[in-house]
Symmetry: C2
Subunit: 445 residues, 2 copies
Amino acid sequence: MPKPTRHLALNAFLMSAGHHEAAWRSNATEPDDYLSLEHVVELARTAERGLLDSIFFADVPVLGHPDRRPSESLDPTVKLAAIAAATSRIGLIGTASTTVEEPYNLARRFASLDRLSKGRAGWNVVTTATDAVGANYGITEWPGHEERYRRADEFVDVTLKLWNSWRPDAVVGDRAEGVWADPSRVQPIHHRGEFFDVAGPLTVGRSPQGHPVVVQAGSSGPGIALAAKYAEAIFTAQRTIEDGRSFYAELKAATRRAGRNPDHIKILPGIVTVLGGTEAEATARADALDDLIVLRHPHEQLAHQTGLAVDQLPLDEPLPAAVRAPDDNTGSRYALTLELARREDLTVRQLLRRLGGGRGHRVFAGTPEQVADTIELWFTTGASDGFNVMPATLPDTLEDFVDHVVPILQQRGLFRTAYEGSTLREHYGLPVPGEGALAGVSRAG
Amino acid sequence: MPKPTRHLALNAFLMSAGHHEAAWRSNATEPDDYLSLEHVVELARTAERGLLDSIFFADVPVLGHPDRRPSESLDPTVKLAAIAAATSRIGLIGTASTTVEEPYNLARRFASLDRLSKGRAGWNVVTTATDAVGANYGITEWPGHEERYRRADEFVDVTLKLWNSWRPDAVVGDRAEGVWADPSRVQPIHHRGEFFDVAGPLTVGRSPQGHPVVVQAGSSGPGIALAAKYAEAIFTAQRTIEDGRSFYAELKAATRRAGRNPDHIKILPGIVTVLGGTEAEATARADALDDLIVLRHPHEQLAHQTGLAVDQLPLDEPLPAAVRAPDDNTGSRYALTLELARREDLTVRQLLRRLGGGRGHRVFAGTPEQVADTIELWFTTGASDGFNVMPATLPDTLEDFVDHVVPILQQRGLFRTAYEGSTLREHYGLPVPGEGALAGVSRAG
């Protein structure tokens, strides 16, 4: 196989004790240490030691099941800012929702992170809309899927305008005349739309990468449209290489149709990794983790999603035939879950173990060689531009990945042996927006 | 004078190149370095080296005059989180407004900062309501002063309920049973009010100090009522010791009437410091800074506030007799400005130079001994519990304060010679809320 000239992107998706929901039961970390500065800084430094492009924290502004797993969640921008001070190269991506934020506040927070980190920030755009989240914001009824995505579209548009409201050459620093910035190079955005009226300009100017990288995850119809229009990186959940290739081709085509260069959207499927010296060792490790899953809660959650009572979903039988995802929700994580159960003919117990292991993402238990093989195969055959690496347990599985998988990818000429740049855009190979950008022009990229 | 047993509190109020608006013209720092991580970390470490209680960043979510001074402003929680990773003891206080935030988002962001910093966070509650800020949030008309403070009251109440929604002993970490936290110790708040409906619980549990310290600055009537009910520290602007004593007595009495221990509200007037080896040197330094103020912008701003044209406010004449603060705005910074002009019989030029130097706060140019004398006098004669130190230029005036004023205060037995505790509450001598707190109980303090 010829050495690929494309750049393989690797993001470490970090979650408390690890992506496997029983991870916290399997190791000796103190149970309330997962939220500590030391823990998250150690993870980020490990990822940086492995020359990864970025780390990522997901977010839902509602408490999960505190009796089930480490369920606290800190605001991602606050956590990433602390990490920014303790690292120098790794990209810093956090989720924030267009449904429970003000564009001015969100744009400012991510721009602040981008400035402090010298151009390493990324915003993962989500359109949160569960009843439980709504209850924390006085929202009793969410707008439909379509309206939510229309709001998300306008929200991202406003955010980009705010990020572009300072020209890169705005600060002149003329001490003699007492002029700090040239006001003609800092312009209001005068946005008036269906959902938001925002005057601007932002209180924060340009970072070395122009503005934060826009990331998106949605793989539903409106999610793909939003991604094609704005996203520069995609964290997606594709469980087979066929699904991966089909999603990859669809999104690249949609991006081209949206008038953008398809190379400027990096598609990174999630892979939950459980590593072992031999395949048997990795599988045994994954099984041992699955044995630690407390099934009661996900069982109740699945019952809630399907609209059935728990005892209508016996653990050792397949899902009842009548269970389907709502028509307006194809491509959602729930729809993918049901698809998985059907395709692999799983019992409810098997399905819940799979979900507990990877929350809908592809779980891969194997040797470092096998993980490198699968990454190479997806990357070189049109299924991905890299991977969203989701260590099952932390910090150990991330260390395993950095110490054992990365060197193999480097030996194969697939991955960098040193950081070439210092911004997230440079890591991902994305253009710098904003050179000559003016207010009202969404972006130059 | 007997050695006081009360604890003197010192907060460093940090602002870009310094509080003097011409500070950036007076030194050799690169003009866009004021927002850098290195700059703010250096300031915080200097304050920590001086054993100060805390640092503080103010905030207004609208851009100031970019041609006048370094006017960018990063989100304070993001900036403070970065500083948290680079310091270990100093308290970290940031402003956020009850008018442009959601309580769940704000409570979570400050609780996240409090967790990551191991109990060093403080929230300065403000009720921003200028037209320029409104325009960034689609708000064309703000509610009146009274309604804004009613909203602020409910906002703080909700925030405290969320911060208290986890009992300190909630995380049990029972690996054998697979129970991470005891769900009976994490309770929803079920808040339903005039402005907010918030279910809770928060996604973040207790920090070592229980929850962030609540700070407030308002010295208007409703501001004092809010402070008496909730505030644990007050950053105020009193220009004479008589004003200071009268405000101190009024607020302590109001706090007692609100059913709280008046020792649990620390009153810290602002003092803009310009230091010199001799008084003449300090005064010359202050004058040289004042000479660098570009008067055009504050002149226009004063004209706007007074409702007059610029040429109706000649620089070398006193304020026209007809100019007064609106009746519903007594105690505001603008009202205090007018009072100052009358009391000291200042011309418009003199007034603008004063304001440019300290933005309405007391400017003190003197030797370290003189600054220590004034701090001691205010502290020991019922005018303050400490000071909100506002260095005119940064980093040099902060370094001067730490290296020359702090040792004098220590020699006099007024200030600590080592940190006794590690949380902001310990530094300020405030009680830890939350021991035994349950949802719905605002706080134990």
